[in-house]
């Protein structure tokens, strides 16, 4: 009776540690901790300790469940994070739609700035989550993600600075036309900085998209293709801005918003599957 009570205590401890971890890490961690608990119990019993005391000592040796759970969540992708990524992916088209309907209350510039900030935050969060999930199994994602992170920060900061100083947006006129404004030195610097951020962003998208093409998940593979197309379009967009082809630039810019929505929808679906079924990377066995 007492032994079963101790087993229940251990089951609660184990649930607390592993509840928020996705599969298959969850099953492996449970097996490892359960084996550890049983090994310690057996060792104590062999030393002549009573069954009850052996269970108490085995639990004490494992330590505080909260502390172990926190460390586990810092290493493994949590189910809660998968859910947040799904919300972020859904938030992108919804926030753009809501912002579009706010022209009566906010200026065009203000709406563009808010949309840029929201887009950057969502992209950075989703991309960092992809890194956290895939890096342990596939590696090699660090550099394109760092480049994308840097370009997104630059991309979000340029319009804010430009709006505060000059009351205008870089690479954009008041009607939303895309062009390179070189009227003053300050505007020229901010416009070129924005153009560079677009170029870096495009390069990072192609780089990261290429890496994602090597993943086994079909959703991630297709996301890689769309991301590569976004990267290519962004670089073409930069070229159109430089040669002042405003119509082509506006079309590509709009197309990119659609493609970002598509890639975020794919990733949202992928993270929903991660939340519900876990992430099962290809097995690597040591000889």
């Amino acid at each position: 009776m007492k032994s079963s009570k101790r087993q229940n205590e251990f089951s609660h401890w184990l649930d607390h540690v592993t509840d928020n971890i996705i599969e298959p890490a969850r099953t492996q961690t449970r097996q490892e901790l359960e084996n550890h608990y049983l090994d310690t119990t057996e060792e104590q019993l062999a030393r002549g300790v009573s069954v009850q005391e052996a269970h108490i000592l085995a639990m004490a040796a494992l330590g505080d469940a909260g502390e172990v759970a926190l460390e586990m969540q810092s290493v493994h992708f949590s189910a809660r994070r998968a859910l947040w990524v799904l919300f972020a992916c859904l938030a992108y088209p919804i926030s753009l739609f809501v912002l579009q309907s706010m022209y009566k209350f906010l200026s065009f510039q203000m709406i563009t700035i808010i949309a840029t900030i929201i887009t950057s935050i969502i992209i950075v969060f989703v991309v960092l989550s992809i890194k956290k999930l895939l890096q342990p199994f596939h590696g090699d994602l660090d550099r394109p993600i760092q480049l994308l992170f840097f370009s997104q920060v630059m991309w979000a900061l340029c319009p804010i600075i430009s709006y505060i100083i000059y009351g205008e947006l870089p690479l954009m006129n008041n009607q939303g036309g895309v062009y390179l404004n070189m009227s003053t030195l300050g505007s020229a610097i901010l416009n070129v900085a924005m153009l560079i951020s677009e170029l870096l962003s495009g390069t990072a998208c192609i780089w990261l998209g290429g890496k994602l093409l090597r993943q086994q998940s079909k959703l991630i593979f297709v996301s890689g293709i769309v991301l590569t197309i976004i990267g290519l379009f962004t670089i073409i967009l930069c070229a159109m801005i430089v040669i002042n082809n405003q119509l082509a630039a506006a079309v590509i810019s709009s197309l990119n918003y659609v493609l970002v929505t598509i890639v975020l929808s794919l990733l949202g679906f992928f993270f929903f599957r991660v939340f519900s079924h876990g992430y099962h990377p290809p097995m690597e066995t040591a000889s």
């Binding site: 961690t29 490892e32 550890h36 810092s74 066995t285």
Partner: protein, 104 residues
Amino acid sequence: MNIKGTLPLLIMQCVSYEAKHGYQIAQQIKQKSEGVLDFKEGTLYPTLHKLQANGYLKSFSEEIKGRTRHYYQLTSNGAKFLEEERKEWNQVVKAVSLALEQSI
């Protein structure tokens, strides 16, 4: 003695010659240090998983007496990292010893 900061180094040393599972690693650290180095054994597993995620360890599973055992062993990257960490640790030990001698 709290060994949290040095746990990765001790783990890598433990599995540098042969693959071991978590309980064996915990026991070896305690035995080799004659019980001086003690730690909460539940925290061993996040550290093992982190070392594996960083490519310093690789793991495989075996079914033994109805239990699935997960064994860890050092990778070539892990061996290089262990060597660097060991050198750094020796430098720290030497420096602390010197500092303690001087203050006496």
